[in-house]
Symmetry: none
Subunit: 152 residues, 2 copies
Amino acid sequence: MDSEIFKRFLEEKGQRLTKERSVILREAFACEGHFDPETLYADMKRRGMKASRASVYRTLSLLCECGLVEKVSKTEHGTIYEQRHGRQHHDHMVCLSCGKVIEFYSEHLEKLQDAICREKNFTGKSHTLEIRGYCGVCASHHDSEGENANDR
Amino acid sequence: MDSEIFKRFLEEKGQRLTKERSVILREAFACEGHFDPETLYADMKRRGMKASRASVYRTLSLLCECGLVEKVSKTEHGTIYEQRHGRQHHDHMVCLSCGKVIEFYSEHLEKLQDAICREKNFTGKSHTLEIRGYCGVCASHHDSEGENANDR
DNA sequence: ATAGTTGCAAAATATTTGCATTTAT
DNA sequence: ATAAATGCAAATATTTTGCAACTAT
């Protein structure tokens, strides 16, 4: 179980798995995807669980440290985290027309990135690859329209 | 010239290319790579050019709007921008510790993405790949310590 | 005169930290 | 009794915004 992993991690540092930390861990893992500290805090409050905003931030740091959670990116609306335990890595294709998200994974792609990191003397910890374009369905309807110029 | 593009863009909106905006544009294009608003502002001041911090932020927004500059990512140390005009596509590595951005380009990587798209029947138009981790300098400090990327 | 721009200082946002109090062992 | 954790409020850091003064047409 995830809380066991966290507990062991904390004990190794002479720290404790408190009620508050358990609650925050549970919340983080409840949303099987991405989350940000404020939303997590709000959801927690709404459900009547008690832990302060400061504890949310402090606990998320710890969860990152032990690898159960990972900082994915920073946006206008704050840092985005995702729970990492038991989830396999994948990348995304996003359809510019219908918004569909296609997940994919390529071993070859991963290896290639490792090689590039080595070449640049960079210790890669995670990555995000988003390919924007048109899914099969939309691509066929697409020939005519003028579309947005968000290309790179 | 870049300032011509900017000027035309502004005039189309009924706005003006002021001295301050010119200075900021010049600064942004002076550093042939990445920059953040604070550094740009500091450099500008150091060189004795006059424009307020507020104008820096306001002008960077405009430059993004017209495509001469692009927001690359947000780090602990602020938003990173890069100048886009006449520059070829590349991807990024971002150091989680010091915020440094390393550019890279791999033909192989591009080809591989094309192949994956074909496989998924997806028509790729553009992509963003960000590899997060630790640059050579930070990685070495990182081994010894207890894994804390919160250096200030 | 008018519409746009500037700089400043205050506000907004997100996150971190100092500290007195509380909690677990 | 001791070490650690909590909540709060204040502090930071980055960015945005309101507004009075300024500038170009």
